[in-house]
Amino acid sequence: MTSAALRSRAWKLLELVTTPLLPSDYLDLVSPLRAGADLRGRIEAVHPETPDAATIVIRPGRGWRGHRAGQYIRIGIDVDGVRLWRAYSVTSPANRADGRITITVKAIPDGKVSNHLVRDAKPGTVIQLDQACGDFVLPETKPAKVLYLTAGSGITPAMGMLRDAELDDVVMVHSAPRKEDVIFRNDLHDLVADKKLRLVELHTDTDGMLDVARLHELVPDWAERETWACGPAGLLDAAEEHWTAHGLADSLHTERFRPSVVVAGDGGEVTFSTTGTTVEADGATPLLDVGEEAGVLMPSGCRMGICFGCVTPLKAGAVRDLRTGEITEAEPGVLIQTCVSAAAGPCDLER
């Protein structure tokens, strides 16, 4: 018998000892970050960055498989006793010596998790984690010339990349309302002083919004640069339009923090058949919110349609994708993203 088979048999035996609980239910009491546990992390420090942003230093559990600069992680944290999941870009380099990772969070108005993390998070708190994901990353072969086009908290994945890889020719065009709102401002100016970065810092309260069509005035060789853009939908929509108009869509990479809702569904009666819950839903509310409101245990993550942490089998009926208006009908094996899907008539979800 192989050692793996032996281990699994020993584990089975242990399960007979602990039934109806699992051995891990006991181990979690003393060692929540151990290898083999559900992936968790422990908050070790919270460093303020701006009046409404902070960097959270997390020691990930033994099961952490690392990340690539620019990727994001889903974290689950208890706010007022309720487990909430959100996705945040990793802002630490992939090869950080102490094995810690950082996320940098900007508190948004009414943002339960972001405000909690920035203002109330305590070192020592154990949080739930998911492995890093996302394809907003640098390619294996480093591009010769890079442009980061960012605004607000959109700087976070770019900072992860800046800290991770030494590139020869990097330009960043970053917008924030005021000087004091620029996250990582000191780090950025240190990089500029070391001649590792050319920075165009725009303060939109005084300078006005960046007009992407006039980017060439700020960065004359923008078209030669592989570009990573992250920020509000307005900026990204304009960038996509601009790059496409110049036939350069392939050299633009974007990361969205918020879904852009275009079409509402028709609404209808939503059944969560596993728990036997039925509620009426309108056509604009994501099914994730509908389920949570009804007390159904819904998996969730980025809440904007990118991380697939919320996928749920659609057993019957139809749903509408709030971003595209596309209708998905139930078929065996059909999974929907509940965070960007609304009821399009009566439907039945396996939760």
């Binding site: 239910d25 006991y26 009491l29 208890d78 006793g81 309720v82 728990t275 245990l297």
Partner: protein
């Protein structure tokens, strides 16, 4: 059904007003649920698991009498906490709002021979909806006892003190049997029903696992202490069964608690439902420790009014609920554990015999009996 209706003095409007006042109490708790409550249940779960592990560890040496005593006492308490304050309440969905998949009514399994999903159906859906309605609420006498004067007496009821005692000793098996509705389903025609067979199989699996753990694996791990550990786990289960049976009897059986007939709940409004829960339940008074060990079913009245509110909040809710009882001139049935246990057992014995003929009847009482 009870001869004198203790709610007769309330008008329909008053009953609906009472319902609104109870809704307001519920809303207040829901709006203020938070971190402290979450910390409470996590603490209880953590203490329970550590207590169980430690006790079972001590029982590995149960051949030494002091180890047997301490281990058995610890395991009994751990099993009681697991079933009462944790299992029962988690399975009620009292902690679902935390959205923690590890402490959720849809994922929880408990240290009990009845599988969680079957118990949730018979307890949450049937017992809590049809509380104390004869013929609908199986908790009422567990289908084997006479619980009200108006039920017809049969010589078989002479044995009901004995049935009740046996049920108390093996209470978890009694519950599994009635979650399966064995009485009804053992009829020849129903026995082959595939749905029943699947459920019976699930109970069989659960019993096997529970028995294997308590009566085979742990004794085997104890080596030379095999027999004494076997005796210890048996004792702990017995203590847990007797305790939970007593607590639950106190919830609906003591004198003063009303039972209802099927007809009386047709077209019941929310206010009337609340009123039935108020009149059909009884509390146990006592210390904080008593409330914890009963899984806060010592606040049975509050639990029946708000089955899904976190158990740690029933004590504060009880103050407000009791004030409503006074306002609407209703009897809040409560008493110490010994008093209520005695009262419940007294009823079991009394109803095992045919009704005594009332000696004197005032014309008023006669009229009420006819009306009822």
């Amino acid at each position: 059904m009870t001869a004198i209706d203790p709610t007769a003095h309330l008008t329909d409007e008053q009953i609906e007003e009472l319902g609104r006042e109870l809704d307001a109490i519920r809303d207040e708790v829901i709006a203020s649920r938070g971190e402290k409550d979450a910390a409470y249940i996590r603490k209880v779960i953590s203490v329970q698991r550590k207590l169980e592990l430690t006790s079972r560890g001590i029982l590995l040496f149960s051949i030494f009498p002091p180890a047997w005593l301490i281990g058995t006492a610890g395991l009994s308490v751990a099993k009681i906490l697991e079933n009462m304050e944790i299992g029962h309440n988690v399975l009620h969905g009292q902690w679902d709002w935390m959205r923690d998949p590890k402490i959720h009514s849809t994922t929880w399994e408990w240290d009990h021979v009845s599988p969680a999903d079957q118990w949730k159906h018979s307890h949450n859906e049937l017992h809590h909806t049809y509380t104390n309605v004869i013929g609908k609420d199986n908790d009422l006498g567990y289908g084997i006892m006479r619980v009200d004067e108006d039920q017809k007496w049969h010589p078989i009821h002479l044995g009901q003190p004995l049935w009740n005692f046996i049920n108390a000793c093996f209470f978890e098996y009694g519950i599994a049997a009635y979650d399966l509705e064995l009485g009804k389903n053992l009829h020849k025609r129903r026995r082959k029903n595939p749905e029943f067979r699947a459920r019976a199989k699930a109970v069989g699996r659960k019993i096997r696992k529970q028995v294997l753990k308590d009566y085979v694996i742990h004794p085997l791990l104890s080596g030379p202490s095999f027999l004494t550990t076997l005796a210890a786990t048996f004792t702990a289960n017995l203590v847990r069964n007797l305790w939970s049976h007593s607590v639950i009897m106190c919830g609906h059986f003591p004198e003063g608690v009303q039972v209802f007939e099927r007809r009386s709940i047709e077209g019941e409004t929310r206010g009337q439902w609340y009123l039935r829960q108020m009149m059909g339940s009884a509390n146990i008074s006592g210390s904080k420790l008593m409330h914890l060990m009963t899984g806060n079913l010592s606040h049975q009245i509050e639990h029946h009014l708000f089955p899904d509110l976190p158990s740690n909040r029933y004590a504060e809710v009880a103050v407000k609920v009791r004030a409503l009882f006074e306002k609407y001139e209703l009897e809040y049935v409560t008493g110490s554990l010994p008093k209520q246990v005695f009262s419940a057992w007294h009823k079991v014995f009394r109803l095992s015999l045919p009704n005594k003929k009332p000696k004197v009847q005032t014309p008023d009482r006669e009229k009420e009996l006819v009306a009822a």
